[in-house]
Symmetry: C2
Subunit: 394 residues, 2 copies
C-alpha cells in the first residue's frame, strides 16, 4: 500500500531540485566560507546567493537575513536578543496564548532574568485582536511577538495590523512565520515586521537550517557567540549546503506560490467539506477562511486524537494530532484550550496538512477511511458528548 | 593546476561514504523524528543510530549525547547551561587564555549576568598547567573549560589530568574537542570529562551539526528552548541528515583513526622538517610533539601571514593564518600572544593542516613553493627581525 503523507506542517520532503542545488556544496564547494582562499570564497558565494533568494521572497534586503540552525533558534535569538539589548529600556514582552513552544518556553526562560510577559487571549477562531495589543503596550514594553499562522489550527493572524500598532507605539514587532514562509505571501515592509523567524524544512528545504530576518537598524544581542560569521550576528561555521538548500527552496516557493496555494487550498477544502459532511460532532478548529492554505484541523468528539492518528497510520496515512514537537505528550494542547475548548475535546484533535505532492485521489482515499475509523473508535468509547453544547460560539 | 587543500582544521571535505549515508534522509526518510507515524519513526531511527555511533567513538552512553547545530552552539550551551543551572552554587568559571572565541566570547557574554572568569596562562608551548587549575579553583567555581587541542597552534592539552583535578575538587569539567574528535583517541570516562563539544565538519562530516556530550548525572539548563527534542535538552526539529552524517563520520573515524593518524602525522612531520630546514627565522608554534597529528603551524618572521596565505592560494595551496572564524581580522591572534610572541611575530603566522586525502607529493610541491614565496615577501619587506632574540625560550 502506498503511503499518503498529510503532515506537511510537521515537515515537508526536501524537493529534488533543492537537493540538487545542495549537492555541489557537499562534493565540491565544501570549503569554510570564512576562509580567505579559493575554497572558502566558493562556499561563501553559495551562502550569499541563498541570502539574496530568501531576502527576495520576504521583500527584504539580503543583509537583513541571518541564517540560523533552526526556526526555533531564530525564535530564541529574537526574544533573548531583544531582551538583552533593550534591557535598560524595558522588561515587558507581549505575546499570544497560542504561540509555538519555541516562543512560550523562551519567554518563560527569560522570566528568570526578570522579563515579564503578557499572553494575549484569542477569540474562538484563534485570532489575536490588534486593539488588545495596543491596550497591552506599556512604557516598559520592548517587544511584541505574535505568530503569522498557528501550526496547530491554521489561523492566520492579522500581523500587518499588529505590526502597524507596534510601529505607531515604537515597539519592536517579531513574528514566528515558520508555517507561512513559502506558502503565504510576506512583505516585511508592508507588514511592519522588525524580526521574523522561519525554517527551511517547512518549505521543502532541508532540516537543520532556519533564518531570522532583522530589519536594518534593529540591533539585538547575538544568541550564539564565538565568531564573526553572519556579520557578527550568529557565530558558527555556516551550514553551507543547508543554507543553499533554503535559498533554492525560497526561490522556488516565490515562483510557484500562487499555483501551489491554489492546489493545496483546493485539497484542504475537499478535506474540510468531506469530513464535516460525513461525520457528526466534528469541529473545524481555527478560522474557517483566514487559515493556512494547506491546513485542515478538527476536533472529533468522543475519541482520542492519538488513537485516530495511529489507526490512520496503520491504514497508510501520516497525519498529526497537532504540533509534532509535542507528540506523545498527553497534556491537551495549550492552543486548543486557548480557543475555549474543554480538555477532552482538545485531546480529540487531528491535523491534516497537505502539500504540493498530494492529489485529490489521495484525499478521496482518506475520506473513505476516516469516517470508518472514527465510527469504530467512537463505538469503542464509553461516552459520546454532544459537541454543539460544549464548544464556544458553535 | 590541481588545487591542494591544506586547511583541514578550518573544515574537512564531506566524505563520500558520509554523503551516501545522508542521502536517504533527504530522499526517503525525510519525516520529522517527533512524529508518531511511520515516516517519523524512520527518521528517528536514523538519529538514534547516529547517536550510538558517536557515543561509541567517545566511550560514552548514547543518552549522554545531545545533537546541536554546531560545535560553537555546543560550547555556548555548555557554558551558559552550567552558569544558569549552578547559579546559586557559584559564579566563577576557569578557562584558558588560548580557547576558541566560542568559549571566550560566551564567557564574556556571561559576564553580563555576573559570571566571573579566570583565564589561565599557558607556557611557551601552549600548555595549561593542571596545578594552575587546582590553584585557581575556589568555592565559587562551578566550571573549568579547557580545550582538548588548540585550533591555531595544535598543542594537545593534558585534559585527563585537568579533569582529574576537577573531579577531585567536585567542579564540572568541559572540554572543547572540536579539533580532536575523530583524530585523537578520546575516552570521556578515563579523561574525567563531564561535558565535551564537537563539530561534524571537522571530521569529514557535514557542516551545520555538532554535539554536546553531557555525562549522565550532569544536569544543565537548555540553550535552545521550545520543544521536547533531544530528551528535552535541545529544542528544534532535528537536522536528521546532518546527524546521520555525523554518526557515519564518527563510525568511520573510530575504525580508521590509527591509520589516518599515521598518515597525517607523517605528512605533518614532513612539512615541519621541510620548512624549518629550508627557511631561516621560522618558528614552529605550539608543542613540538604533543600536538594534533594533522597540524603544522609557524611564525615566519618578517612577513604578514595573510600575504603568505594569498600568495600560496595563487599557487594552488589552501592554507590559513590561524582560526578560520577570525579570518580577515587584522588583530594578532590571542592564542599566539598568549605564547609570549610579540604582535608582529604573531601576525606572521601560517597554519598548514593536512587530511586523509593529502599525499607526500603534495607536501613536496608545497616545500618547493613555500620558501620561494617567503623569500619574495621578505625581500619586499623593509625589516627582518632576528627571530631568536624575540621569542621566549627559543
Amino acid at each position: 500500500m502506498e503511503r499518503v503523507y498529510f503532515d506537511h506542517a510537521a515537515t515537508t520532503p526536501t524537493r529534488p531540485e533543492v537537493l540538487q542545488a545542495m549537492l555541489p556544496y557537499y562534493t565540491e564547494h565544501w570549503g569554510n566560507p570564512s576562509s580567505l582562499h579559493l575554497e572558502g570564497v566558493a562556499a561563501l558565494e553559495g551562502v550569499e546567493r541563498a541570502r539574496t533568494h530568501l531576502a527576495t521572497l520576504l521583500g527584504a534586503d539580503s543583509d537583513e537575513i541571518v541564517f540560523t540552525g533552526s526556526g526555533t533558534e531564530a525564535d530564541n535569538h529574537a526574544l533573548a536578543g531583544v531582551a538583552h539589548a533593550l534591557g535598560d529600556k524595558g522588561d515587558h514582552i507581549i505575546t499570544s496564548a497560542i504561540e509555538h513552544h519555541a516562543i512560550h518556553d523562551t519567554v518563560e526562560h527569560l522570566g528568570r532574568v526578570g522579563v515579564r510577559a503578557t499572553h494575549l487571549p484569542v477569540d474562538e477562531a484563534g485570532l489575536v485582536d490588534p486593539d488588545a495589543v495596543r491596550s497591552a503596550i506599556t512604557d516598559r514594553t520592548i517587544l511584541v511577538s505574535v505568530m503569522h499562522a498557528n501550526n496547530e489550527m491554521g489561523t492566520i493572524e492579522p500581523i500587518a495590523e499588529i505590526g502597524a500598532v507596534c510601529r505607531e507605539r515604537g515597539v519592536l514587532f517579531h513574528t514566528d512565520a515558520v508555517q507561512t514562509v513559502g506558502h503565504v505571501p510576506i512583505d516585511v515592509r508592508r507588514m511592519n515586521i522588525d524580526l521574523l523567524s522561519l525554517s527551511a524544512h517547512k518549505l521543502y528545504g532541508p532540516k537543520g537550517v532556519g533564518a531570522l530576518f532583522m530589519r536594518d537598524g534593529v540591533t539585538i544581542t547575538s544568541y550564539v557567540h564565538g565568531g564573526g560569521q553572519e556579520s557578527g550576528r550568529r557565530a558558527s561555521t555556516e551550514n553551507v549546503a543547508g543554507i543553499v538548500g533554503l535559498g533554492e527552496a525560497a526561490r522556488l516557493a516565490g515562483e510557484e506560490m500562487e499555483q501551489e496555494t491554489a492546489h493545496t487550498s483546493g485539497l484542504r477544502d475537499q478535506i474540510i467539506g468531506g469530513i464535516l459532511g460525513a461525520i457528526p460532532d466534528v469541529l473545524l478548529t481555527g478560522h474557517p477562511t483566514q487559515r493556512l492554505p494547506n491546513s485542515a484541523s478538527f476536533c472529533v468528539a468522543g475519541i482520542e486524537g492519538e488513537a485516530l492518528l495511529l489507526d490512520l497510520d496503520q491504514e497508510g496515512f501520516a497525519v498529526s494530532t497537532g504540533s509534532a514537537c509535542t507528540s506523545g505528550v498527553s497534556e491537551p494542547s495549550h492552543v486548543l484550550l486557548a480557543l475555549g475548548l474543554p480538555p477532552d475535546i482538545a485531546r480529540s484533535s487531528i491535523r491534516i496538512t497537505v502539500g504540493r505532492g498530494n492529489t485529490a485521489e489521495e484525499v478521496d482515499r482518506l475520506l473513505e477511511v476516516f469516517p470508518r475509523i472514527v465510527k469504530r473508535l467512537r463505538d469503542m468509547s464509553a461516552h459520546r458528548p454532544a459537541l454543539a453544547e460544549r464548544v464556544p460560539h458553535d
